[in-house]
Symmetry: C2
Subunit: 217 residues, 2 copies
DNA sequence: TAGATTGTTAATCGATTAACAATC
DNA sequence: TAGATTGTTAATCGATTAACAATC
């Protein structure tokens, strides 16, 4: 197929493929079919083939996909074949937790700087990185060529931080604050909000009879 | 409208509505239109009206939605008008961070127990909760009527933990481990995987000329 | 060769959006 | 009343899935 505009749904599945392919590679599995991939990842095999076909003909008819080759291709598509520098803003509990999450590292994503607005925190060390004050944000982003920002500040500060990141030249933001950030269209924002995740889970709890919500069936 | 099967997309937007409505309520705003809601939340007003109409006629033509009334309704729909007890498995950095995330609390979701498989951690205190050993998991879940589990253990342990949670009677799981969990269909699982979030963000970085990926335009 | 599996088209399904009568 | 805004139907858009010829 090639080209076309790729939908976000497709892009979001690529890292999932990559993760399982890495696992296969570790187990020295050489080849995998869309069927097996689908079974393992709870996805339709046709969807997987279609997703991959957007980017090229990576498989072989009758055989399947070469694991190593596909890993290489997906890494390239996701731009993980180069180091991506990441900045983390907000050295609270969550920021702390994310900072020593090395899962990023093996895929070339690296948190290279941490910032916090709270003065007493500035200068302390988190995972070999010295927490910097917000004044240095722009300079550091430029110096290290940082391209992605992770926001783990309280919700009221999130928009301000986003604005600063954007004006400093960041291209994409992963936002953990429970708020909808406004940004120009060329800035990509993903929201990772477990409050809404958890609340939407509650919907699916089964309350049996009790009040049955009036329109049960 | 009423009834129909509600899609997950709709359910996932409800907590977002709720959050902003709570903010309006705090600011003592009495009424809000789908238009204003849409603007603030980056959603189509028609979609918001449709989402809400699945559950009842909550608005008034020509007026909009009564903020307090809508909050009450959404909280009921999401079952947040009763306390939902949550268990956290995995007392590592992330688990630690989540455990003192009181945002849950104000919406009636409460982490009432924490478990970890690592013996030296058992017995230590995290946010007033004593970390318990996995042997006590089932008993505690039953005793406290815990209905939702949060998994923050390493990926290799996640499926085991999920199995244990499920056999102990948990109804829904929020999984932070980077792996696809298998579970019977009546168990609701949400995956909160920031590794894939972050990796999919990298796709949208702009590499300008450099190699242009062969099929740029 | 026979069996397996891709890439891709066509069919289906579902979700979003536009439009508007009803009505506050 | 005139203006605003809902609830809902119909239109659109997009994503998923089935099916199958090509081919390893």
């Amino acid at each position: 197929m090639k080209s076309d505009k790729i939908s976000e749904a497709v892009v979001r599945r690529l890292p999932v493929y990559l993760r399982y392919l890495n696992e296969l590679h570790l187990r020295e599995v050489a080849t995998v079919s869309s069927q097996e991939l689908g079974q393992k990842l709870d996805l339709n095999p046709a969807q997987i083939r279609k997703d991959l076909a957007y980017f090229g003909d990576f498989g072989r008819k009758g055989i399947g996909y070469d694991v190593s080759y596909l890993i290489e291709k997906i890494r390239h598509i996701l731009k993980l074949d180069q180091q991506i520098n990441v900045v983390l803003v907000g050295a609270g509990n969550l920021g702390h937790a994310l900072s020593n999450y090395n899962a990023f590292l093996k895929d070339n994503m690296k948190i290279v700087a941490i910032f916090d607005a709270y003065t007493p925190k500035v200068g302390t060390k988190i995972n070999n990185l010295v927490v910097q004050s917000m004044e240095e944000l722009t300079a550091t982003i430029k110096e290290f060529g940082i391209r992605i920002g992770i926001i783990t500040v309280p919700d009221v500060e999130a928009q301000d931080v986003a604005d600063k990141l954007i004006s400093s030249g960041i291209e994409a933001i992963l936002n953990f604050a429970p708020t909808i950030l406004k940004a120009p269209p060329h800035i990509r924002i993903h929201t990772a909000d477990f409050t809404t995740d958890l609340q939407s889970l509650a919907y699916y709890l089964d309350n049996g009879k009790e009040d049955a919500d009036h329109d049960e069936a």
